[in-house]
């Protein structure tokens, strides 16, 4: 089996800014945009996979898209919802079960969403009562230790967010479109030390759809298909450090993103050094810093120099989160993973507008990370 048998022929995205639209309406809009981009009617889709975390079932979209009888599987896999839908669509193409497959991810969360209850996580009620069921505490504690071990400064965290807002200002579908500089980011309210308000993403809304085809269909369509060389989802192994853990094992924490990235590169027959543009999970600034190293793009601690020198900016040696990432787009859980892939597809096609990475990038990478220790990675090439 050759690695380039699955091609992304259509990509559709909605605005990630807050509107009155429902999650399902956004999803329908994204699917129609992806079909139009591919030049295919809905009736040509032979397998569909999709979902949201909090905005309903994807399979009900057949009411609006058309009752063609297509098998449509709902995916609800937390932060890996988009990645899992994509893996399923890839497998449908690779197996020969379908020659055209859809992956769609969408969500819509109210302001201040994500308030988990101890019982849902198998924890004593005391963790909620005493104020330890707070997601942001985990992210803060992980980067706090990382900064101690690897010499990362608070200014580097601010530079990650500054880059996100700068890239968001160049991205028409982004939510946060106003630039903020590192000093403003550092001076914003401290949420959980060392992370300030503007270093975090917020619960948001949005939808993304991708149309995958086999080589035969892609050839007939023409256009500029992008090869999806690898798409993998992994869950954590023992030894990792995750949100809402009453305890953690000793030693250097294992990383599910390292596992997923290594497998994706192995499947693609490429390595981190071959990648020209990438999208990394940036729930907050610290996550992007750590994921750069966890996915193999630099040594631990090297981020201090990379951020200061602008290496991860558009125009740098390895542009990261060229659309502003979660920090500028917000976090609609079901949509974020596919937003990353959409961005890489547009960059590799040379259609990223003002935020286009110069020099004709040929290979891209995406990585989602989320609770309770899942990671989805993809490798794409022109």
């Amino acid at each position: 089996m050759t690695a380039d048998e699955v091609l992304v022929c259509g990509a559709g995205i909605t605005s990630f800014a807050r509107t009155e639209a429902t999650g399902r309406q956004l999803a329908e809009q994204a699917v129609r945009a992806a079909l139009a981009d591919a030049g295919l009617p809905w009736s040509r889709v032979r397998a569909a996979y999709g979902g949201s975390d909090a905005a309903g079932n994807a399979d009900t979209l057949v009411a609006e898209l058309g009752l063609t009888g297509v098998p449509f599987v709902n995916v609800r896999n937390g932060c890996a919802t988009g990645g899992s839908a994509l893996v399923s669509a890839v497998n449908a193409i690779r197996s020969g079960a379908a020659d055209v497959a859809l992956a769609v991810g969408f969500d819509k969360h109210p302001r201040g969403a994500f308030d988990p209850r101890p019982a849902d996580w198998g924890l004593d009620e005391a963790y909620g009562r005493d104020g330890l069921m707070v997601t942001t505490q985990f992210f803060a504690m992980k980067i706090q230790r990382y900064m101690h071990d690897h010499g990362i400064s608070a200014r580097t965290l601010a530079l990650v967010a500054q880059k996100a807002y700068a890239n968001g200002s160049l991205t028409p579908h982004a939510w946060r479109r106003g630039p903020l500089d590192a000093a403003e980011i550092l001076a914003s309210d401290m949420v959980n030390d060392p992370l300030t308000r503007y270093m975090f993403c917020s619960p948001g809304q949005g939808a993304v759809a991708l149309i995958l085809c086999n080589r035969t269909v892609a050839r007939d369509l023409g256009g500029s298909p992008i090869a999806l060389r690898a798409a993998v989802v992994r869950t954590r192994r023992f030894g990792s450090f995750e949100v809402f853990s009453p305890w953690a094992p000793p030693g250097t924490p294992a990383s599910v993103s390292t596992d997923a990235a290594q497998l994706a590169f192995e499947q693609a027959g490429l390595g981190p050094g071959d990648i020209d543009v990438c999208q990394l999970q940036d729930t907050e600034s610290g996550a992007e810093v750590m994921h750069l190293a966890e996915c193999g793009f630099c040594e631990h601690g090297e981020q201090e120099r990379l951020l200061a020198s602008g290496s991860t900016a558009i125009g740098g040696a390895l542009p990261v989160n060229t659309d502003g990432g979660c920090i500028a787009n917000g976090e609609p859980i079901g949509a974020s993973g596919l937003r990353q892939v959409h961005e890489i597809v547009q960059q590799l096609r040379g259609r990223a507008g003002e935020r286009q990475v110069p020099g004709g990038p040929a290979a891209g990478f995406t990585q989602v990370y989320g609770a309770p220790g899942v990671s989805a990675c993809t490798v794409l090439t022109r």
Partner: protein, 115 residues
């Protein structure tokens, strides 16, 4: 209510856990209850600067004040999440701490002794 934390340890791979679990989270074998050490060192920490959402958070009668939380590494090889009864400006990674079970989540304070 104050006392040692009740954890568990796997007889085969020596992995310790808190709170006590009937099976080893690594190998799935049987785990035995064990009283964890009361002293350890701070592995990481943060400060909760705003009041968490209520419920489930129970705001103290005296009103919300920022509080610190962290993971305390114990000699059994387990890092325990604890509320830190230490002023934020005095917290440093590696500082020795005394941990107690106090009826709610584990709580840790500066031990004043080197461990």
């Amino acid at each position: 209510m104050e006392g040692a934390l009740s954890g568990s340890r796997c007889a085969d791979c020596a992995v310790a856990a808190y709170p006590a679990e009937p099976v080893c989270p690594r190998c799935g074998g049987p785990a035995e209850p064990v009283a964890l050490s009361a002293t350890g060192t701070l592995w990481t920490w943060t400060v909760q600067r705003y009041a968490p959402k209520s419920p489930p958070y129970a705001v103290p009668g005296t009103g919300f004040e920022p509080f610190a939380v962290g993971y305390v590494e114990l000699p059994e090889g387990v890092r325990v999440l604890a509320a830190l009864d230490i002023p934020p400006e005095r917290i440093t990674i590696g500082m020795p701490l005394r941990v107690t079970a106090a009826g709610g989540v584990p709580r840790a304070a500066a031990s004043g002794v080197t461990v």
